[in-house]
Symmetry: C2
Subunit: 313 residues, 2 copies
């Protein structure tokens, strides 16, 4: 079994590759739910849905999120009732939120809802939310704290991030299956996602970090930072404003207590010795997932490196 | 003040005419809410929305309900999650239901929600739901009982109606403003709506019939039945299956204890003596609302007849 700690767009692209090189039934995804948001009274769960749509081959390839060819009729109509127009959730994407909200109100637990939605899209992977309890990422800026989607969508990440915290995380427990998926895996793969707001919340759920520390699985992370920049999202600017250098090495440092192996891009080859000095193995490969073939190649390279690492122990 | 007891399509057309001949601020609409339905976890309120959309000039002119030019993307997408496709609520129409559901969950009362939605569409009339409590029309057919929208939309009225009942009506009270609107009006106008499932629920709310019996307002109804047929909806077949003749006279009989004046179509002129024998005044005019001009003319004729009736008392 392969367990992937996943955020949104970057993770979904890595998972597309992974699902093309191993049987989907071997894959368990532990999905960040700390960017969940209630919009228009509906429970929107961006990272889970991005991964589901991507694995179903239905994601909008231009944005990396939402559904291909989706329309915005409902969100536009909602503006008449005073709702903001900036949360541009597509109509078919909104159908997912409507369904989730109904199931939740009917008493379903989050992991049951995620399973139901993944099944509706015909997914073969096991999809798990990191927790059934509500956890909300809060972005602390120069003038106080705002909700994650405010930062991400409304402000388009145009805010200096001074701190990140996860509301509710102390009271939360890992969703059923999460700790077993970490403990029982051959490899736990930290997807090339934002370490602060995508992977960070998963690691912050009580019990997850401990399970990662003690698992027999090979623990491998793919750097979302390539050549001092990020492929998608605000990870680079967050590293900087939070006092880190913007590099794969900084990402390796963030994960070092729960990691065996770091996968970095060829463009960052010169960082390999420094990563290894952290006590981590380091594999260098092409991590730019610009085509199905290169997504598959990255997944294969990551698996091979993990298996070589395991064989060497 | 003019108070109109209103169902859906027929009432909305009459109200379009009325709003074109008197100031909207003089009009209070008491709207049937017994065909409200929860679909996809959302509170859908067909009759209220039809009237609002019609008065806002946004209703789909072909169907008489829903919004002109609306799309069905969400309802189609919801089928993936197992929802039926027969409830063809448009995307922009669904935005209204999303907003209503959110307000309701936030603790708003129905009359406050209706007021908010009417204001969002710029309406000048006072819109009132008949009750803030849930009341659900149930259709009793040969094989038992079904929900109203099952009968109306899924079965397209293709069921012999043996009885109609209103779930929850005994515990319901008129919404704030309803009894005052009946007691304080110059005229209470029963719109040309289905007497069983549109006007019937309003009359069944405890206190409404009594207020109609004792008001000083002229009480006038426009027959939805013209020349033995109905312009829109299942009123004709219901009259038949429930043991009435299919005529404006039968409608007059149903309302006689709360009515002063019946407005019937020119094609039914021969029924005038029989209506008058019931102890009602009867005005004959063109009731076919096929154009804005004829809607306005019907509203004018109804008002004139009501005022003549009042002057003669």
């Amino acid at each position: 079994m392969l367990t992937v700690l996943a955020g949104g767009v970057g993770a979904s692209r890595f998972l597309q590759g992974l699902a093309s090189v191993v049987n989907e039934s071997e894959i368990t995804v532990i999905s960040n739910t700390a960017d969940d948001v209630e919009m228009f009274g509906l429970h929107v769960q961006p990272d889970v849905d991005i991964v589901i749509y991507a694995l179903a081959g239905a994601v909008n390839p231009e944005t990396g999120w939402g559904l291909e060819g989706d329309t915005l009729n409902v969100v536009q109509a909602l503006q008449r009732y005073g709702y903001p127009g900036w949360f541009n959730l597509g109509d078919r994407d909104l159908a997912t939120a409507i369904h989730r909200t109904r199931l939740k109100r009917d008493g379903w637990q989050l992991h049951e809802i995620v399973e139901d939605i993944a099944a509706a899209w015909g997914l073969g992977v096991t999809m798990l939310p990191m927790s059934n309890e509500p956890i909300a990422t809060r972005i602390v800026g120069p003038d106080g704290e705002i909700a994650f989607q405010d930062y991400m969508v409304r402000l388009k990440t145009g805010l200096e991030v001074r701190d990140v915290r996860f509301d509710g995380v102390e009271q939360a427990r890992p969703a059923p299956g999460v700790l077993d998926a970490i403990r029982g895996a051959e490899a736990v793969i930290v997807a090339p996602s934002n370490p602060f707001v995508s992977v960070g919340p998963i690691l912050a759920v009580p019990g997850v970090r401990e399970a990662l520390r003690t698992t027999d699985a090979v623990r491998v992370a793919i750097s979302p930072i390539v050549a001092g920049n990020v492929v998608k999202g605000p990870a680079a600017q967050m590293l900087q404003s939070l006092g880190h250098e913007v590099s794969a090495l900084a990402v390796a440092r963030l994960y070092r207590d729960v990691l065996d192996l770091m996968v970095i891009d060829e463009q960052d080859r010169e960082l390999q010795p420094a990563v290894e000095e952290l006590g981590l193995a380091c594999h260098v490969t092409d991590t730019m997932m610009v085509s199905p073939e290169r997504k598959a190649a990255l997944a294969s390279a990551t698996l091979s490196a993990a298996r070589q690492y395991a064989a060497a122990q």
